[in-house]
């Protein structure tokens, strides 16, 4: 899926604004809500621009089938799935090659943040269900899943926050949406653990020069940091109510 960079001039207008009116370093509007599903052990709902994604966590619980249990740590299983109604044309609900791959990268993005050794011989299931999709659903899904894991009360070294940067119309921009992804020249989704400053997801679709790359990477890092603040606020709102912010330290 190499980026061709089709009609690139129209992606950024003469004022330097993008198709949806954002500046080059602006995120789409994000809202996160924690604990929205009663039956799951932990859950979160994220709206990331036009993306609407539900994340649910079950576990730790006993593993079925039993032979897949690990003796020294918990088994993290992850499913990224797009609902049939999440796209413009009906999507076949059977997991596609793309969804299987994204499930794997989301699992690998979350795994370093979890202290799986605390729950040997158990399984933790993470479901990321895309209800409405726009570009960057893997990043949005990781943000929601990480908050849902914290909501489930699973021991974590850190949260995980994710954001993409990319290149459209020859310019490096933050948070690529669907049109920009299709028409643009490069897409660089990353996920980091914000307090320990480690990268847990790193993908690049398209071509960037060294200089462009560092610019895009740093921009995406800034995006991740803003997402961390939103994740933090969402968790504090759920658990400590509105007094949470001022009563941070007593």
């Amino acid at each position: 899926m190499g980026k061709q960079g089709g009609d690139s001039t129209s992606l950024i207008n003469s004022q330097g604004l993008r198709l949806d009116g954002r500046r080059f370093d602006e995120l789409r509007p994000v809202s996160i809500e924690v604990g929205v599903l009663k039956n799951a052990d932990g859950s979160a709902y994220i709206q990331f621009g036009k993306n609407k994604i539900m994340a649910a966590v079950y576990g730790p619980k006993e593993v079925h089938p039993k032979h897949s249990a690990l003796a020294d740590r918990s088994l993290l299983r992850c499913r990224y799935h797009m609902s049939p109604f999440s796209t413009e044309e009906r999507k076949n609900p059977a997991p596609s090659r793309r969804e299987i791959e994204i499930s794997k990268v989301i699992r690998e993005a979350l795994e370093p943040a979890l202290i799986l050794e605390d729950y040997p011989r158990t399984a933790i299931d993470v479901f990321v269900e895309v209800l409405q999709s726009d570009g960057g659903s893997r990043c949005a899904g990781i943000n929601a899943a990480s908050v849902a894991l914290a909501d489930a009360g699973i021991n974590m070294r850190d949260l995980v926050c994710a954001c993409a940067a990319g290149k459209i119309a020859g310019q490096i921009v933050l948070d690529i949406d669907d049109t920009e992804d299709k028409e643009g020249q490069a897409d660089l989704p990353i996920a980091i653990m914000p307090t320990s400053n480690r990268v847990t997801l790193f993908q690049l679709d398209g071509q960037l020069s060294n200089e462009e790359f560092s610019k895009a990477f740093n921009l995406a890092l800034e995006g991740c940091k803003s997402l961390y603040q939103m994740q933090r606020e969402a968790l504090i709102r759920k658990y400590f109510g509105k007094d949470g912010n001022e009563a941070g330290e007593q």
Binding site: G42, K61, A113, P120, T122, M156, D158, T195, Y239
Partner: protein
Amino acid sequence: MQDIRRKYVIPGEVVARGNLRAEANVIRRGDKIISTRVGMAEIGHDVVRVVPLSGPYIPRIDDLVVGKVIDYSAFAWEVDINSCFFGILPAQSVFGRDYSPARDSLTEKLAIGDIIATKVIAFDRTRDPLLSISGPGLGRIPRGQVIRISPAKVPRLIGKKGSMIRAIENGCGCRLLVGQNGVVVIVGSAEGMLKAVQAVNLVEEEAHSVDLLEKVEKLMGTTSSLKEESKSSISPSQIKDELEPDESSTSVAKPNDSIKSIGTSTLPDTDVYGNQT
């Protein structure tokens, strides 16, 4: 007590720096101490811990838990204790040292589906938790209503030195057995039990509110005048009778004091909230 600093934290957040002992739900990275859970951090002058606000039940030694027998083999019962680990209750600890699978039948003592009050006697996360039913207040629970709450909210339901349990018990004339695993058994009259369930649900829903005890007392007082009645009409001896099983052979009687003392003594977390109320 005075020099404990409290602070809301989320996973990955730096709770404190320096040479402090990391006690619970925290990890050390360099000189930073980092929370692994959403909760209330307590920073003393030499210790740091986080009291989590959500999460599964992880067994701890000496915890009183309420479980359900789900299976048995020739040597042990398997007990669902509302955790990701199943409890193992060895037959020897019930029948005694000279237990012989050829002679004794496990189902004589406990059958599948029985609810038991039990204590965790060994657990290190690499082996399933080992349970015991020998002790005051432990054993099969013949009747009552079982409800589940989030294990993280158990300290709130017990209250400081058992104050919350006492308020609910007095308010509806029931006995409450609160397992550390979030399983609660309510024994009493039908109306009393209904009311107790309401009260327990209130505690779970509003666990964060500061005037929780008042709210519970209000619920107890306003829904009916049972509060006054029950205080006068139920004497400790009556309660003991109620808890005594009909078939006296199997289960250990539960004098209400032992329930409470077990509940509170295993609870270092209780006074976390105490200062707020």
